[in-house]
């Protein structure tokens, strides 16, 4: 390779490297966003513990976006993982609350049936 070509190739590689260092990879927020949507759909906002974690998930998603915009990609990704964890917990707590309500209703149904028919309530 001639000297001018060598210099040109090195310049090209250097520029490419500079370009890579200067821009952050795109933040993948789909996981967190869909987790938050799922929590909202199961009514997490109406369950005290679940609504807390839903709020945390939303706040952390916003923080992650800001960190990404500031070029702090590693911190952004880590914050996003926190958001996903809170959204997942919000969904689980909503389900737990719903099951608790259903189970309680089922037990009451038995008690009422026994009471209505003058059977001993167990």
């Amino acid at each position: 390779m001639t000297r001018p070509l060598k210099i040109g190739a090195q310049l090209f590689v250097f520029t490419a490297l500079l370009a890579g260092c200067g821009s952050d990879p795109a933040l993948r927020t789909e996981g967190s966003a869909s987790g938050i949507r799922a929590a909202e759909e199961v009514g997490a906002a109406n369950v005290p513990r679940a609504s807390l974690h839903l709020q945390l998930a939303k706040e952390q998603l916003e923080k992650a976006k800001k960190l990404s915009a500031d070029g702090e990609s590693a911190k952004a990704a880590s914050m996003l993982a926190r958001s996903e964890a809170d959204a997942e917990l919000a969904v689980a707590l909503s389900h737990e609350d719903a099951e608790k309500t259903d189970a309680k209703a089922a037990i009451e149904r038995v008690k009422q049936l026994r009471k209505d028919n003058n059977l001993l309530v167990e």
Partner: protein, 285 residues
Amino acid sequence: MIRFILPVCLASLAACGSTPPTELVQAREAYRHVSVGEAGKIAPAEVHVAAQALARAERAFEDDAESFRTRDLAYIAQRKAELAGAIAATLTQQKGQVAADKAFVKTQGEVLDEAKQNLDATQTALIDTARRASEAEAAKAAAEKRAADAQAALARLAAVKQEPRGVVITLSGSVLFASNQTVLLPQAQNKLNEVAEVLLTTRERNITIEGHTDSQGSDSHNMTLSQGRADAVRSYLVSRGYEPDRIKAHGLGEGTPVADNKSAEGRANNRRVEIIIAPEGISSN
């Protein structure tokens, strides 16, 4: 070599001596709580995930105690432990609901069995009631037939009339008694025997015997005479088997004539004894 090892040792020492961040302390506690409880048996996979998350946080803490990565991984580990707890609680509630639903079905079965037993008992009672009603109906029909037959038989023996107060059998006073007497004539007993036979077929009925006279003689004499005659007829019927409690005798004297006392025929008709058979269910006067 020493230049390489020393920083490594120093770093390890730094981790051992470092205070864990709040997130890691909370993550450890959350995992401890879920691992000693029932969640380990009910949701083992979720508890395992929580354990792995805590292990990652612990490794990050060893690498760099103060980094954001350590804090974030610890935060996530706490959430994973709480998630395992929530899932275990949900599964427990589901089991409880299944058990309650089974109990409901079982109770419904008990209620149904009891209802069937009650229905059987009610049906048996209804059949029994129907049978007794039928028997009562038959008994009533038989009694009515006996009464009708008795009335027909009486009509062949004496004057019989149906009045609101009951069936009235009128026997002539001159057939039963001598003039001014209260002792039954011998031939009267034959007539009364026949009447008694018919009356005894309806012995469940109450009877009133009324003695009547014509207007000859004083009121008080006629009252005494009519009472004596009514008593005589009563005594005879009781002697033939009629229940004493069901037969009463009254003397009404000349007070209720059925004919004009001015004529001999009228006076003869007024001298009478009436036997009143009360309708069913009515007590005697």
